[in-house]
Amino acid sequence: MSKKLKKELIFLIVVLVFFLASVAVFHFVSAPWYIEAAVFAVIYALSGCKVVIKAIKKIAAGQLLDEDFLMTVASIGGFVIGEFSEAVAVMVFFRFGDWFERYAVGKSRKSIAALMDIRPQTANVIRNGEEVTVFPEEIEVGDVLIVRAGEKIAVDGVVIGGAAALDTRALTGESVPRDVKEGDEVLSGCIPLGGVIRVKAKQKYEDSTVAKILDLVENATSKKAKSERFVTAFARVYTPIVVGIAALVGVIPSLITGNWLEWIFKALTFLVVSCPCAIVISVPLSFFGGIGAASVNGILIKGSNCIEALAKSGVFVFDKTGTITKGEFVVTKVVAESNYTQADVLGAAAACETGSLHPIALSVLKAAGKAEEGYEISEIAGKGLKATKGGDVILCGNLALMRDNSVQVGDEADGVTCVYVAKNGVYMGRVECEDELKPTSAEAISSLNKIGKTVMLTGDNARVAEKVSASVGVSETFSSLLPGQKVDCIERLAEAKSNGETLVFAGDGINDAPSLVTADVGVAMGGKGSNVAVESADVVLMYDDLLGVVKARKIARKTMRIVKENIVFALGVKIAVMLITALWFANMWLAVFADVGVSLIAILNAMRCGKK
């Protein structure tokens, strides 16, 4: 709590005690009306002067239907018709409600800042051979950072010395530490748990993961949801309507019955109920909490509108490689012709694949351990690679490459990704690779199958696709798609889905960007996913785990439920109080509850969104 808020609270409590004591005293001791009026006038001045001054300022600005003004009119009106204690109650409790609103908003702002406690304060870098402490913003690409146990890594980089277990919880929500050693890439915001590592900066601070996440979460609530726009639009008409009704209630029955005091009092009660703040505040507060709760789980939601769309999601479309699977190939089998050993085949393949960054090449190099050097390598686009040294020519690639060079291939691989290897026109054998499933993909998809339809899209051939789809259990699969066809597929699926449902697409690659934009909710893999995908997505899973989609949907549904509860509850109570006032009896305490009490309850309910 800030000092200012604290001071105000103490002041308000003193005023409240004074007020309640006066009410009690005048209840038991009868005093002349002017003494009672004088005492309450003092309390009113104490509690209300700030509000009245603001109301006057706003009238000068042409803001007639402002809550300060409405409360001022209602309370002064109450005073004039002799309802002293009720008039003062309106002001005192209005101030309490206002105080609580600011407290709650401040608290939830702060709790998100704490949840997102990933901002590094300083960093130690080596400059001119000496270690100096600098602000993260001052780090240049290529600087060497020294990060000790418990310190946050300030910028994204690569480890060039030391090894440590990294706590990545703040970024990914994953509690198991990740071991890193020389050559591994590390993200800013991670914390080494033991040991010292030297990290070479690959990004400036503002381009690093931490800065991007903070920016994203802070600005997430700028993209407003429909329900948010609805409440502000509603508030705009609600107040004038209620004030209009108040005017009618104050005049028409009075003219008929001649009982001016009673009906004016009822009209004033209406004014107290006419403030829309409870509804207007509780909605963005709920979204803010929901976005915060998601980010603790390593799920970044880029806007309130995404929460709304996620809550209605019914069709879940996934890219295969890198999303359902790890996108890392592993050599599963080496098949050698009779004249060669498996090591010969793998060695020849590795000699060709040196220097290539293709995931399959990486898996071959990893399996081979080391590659023979000295070959001149050329790439044959879409087919494979050719390596030459002296008189030797090694070919390594797909069937088409073998056919083009009239190499007779023994038996062909079935349903797996593989490269064929030939030396000097003679077939040596093949290396089979497989992309592993992510450990949680099947679980995530089976949860989503209970909610709606799951679909897998892939550029791979039908056989490989079927194998994966069978093992994770997606309900529909489209294979051999080019990137553009993925978008067409999503559009067709979007047309086929039932009304009111939204379509979620999860992907990771640069070529998934158009699909991410086309889908109602685009989900990108934030860990290994490309920057383009992360930027075009609405939701980013920091831990590349599809269970994040399930979790995000759950948080979104909870948030939307609370938003609806608040709108219905706040409106319901206000309308009920207006009906009671108009048809039955008027009581300002009831109106104060409908205004301040409802605000408090709605705010407390909204704050539940931030709970895990």
């Binding site: 603001k54 706003k58 609530t221 963005p284 803010f288």
Partner: protein
């Protein structure tokens, strides 16, 4: 050009919505977005007379929300 202000002591969510509407109506402001929870106002304004427009924005803000300070 894009301009972001921090709003200190903005009163209530409804006031934020009113401010957003009023600032959005200013000639030269292409788009105004007030984010109550983040206490930020993001403006998209005409480059040619940015200074005059921002002065007008400050005036409107001081009128509607006397307690609220524009920072940045």
């Amino acid at each position: 050009m894009k301009k972001i202000y921090r709003l200190d002591e903005i009163d209530c969510a409804n006031c934020a919505a009113k401010l957003e509407r009023a600032v959005g109506k200013i000639d030269g402001v292409k788009q105004a977005e007030v984010n109550f929870m983040a206490q930020k106002m993001t403006l998209e304004i005409d480059d040619s007379r940015a200074e005059a427009v921002l002065a007008e924005v400050k005036k409107v803000c001081a009128k509607l929300e006397p307690d609220c300070a524009l920072i940045g």
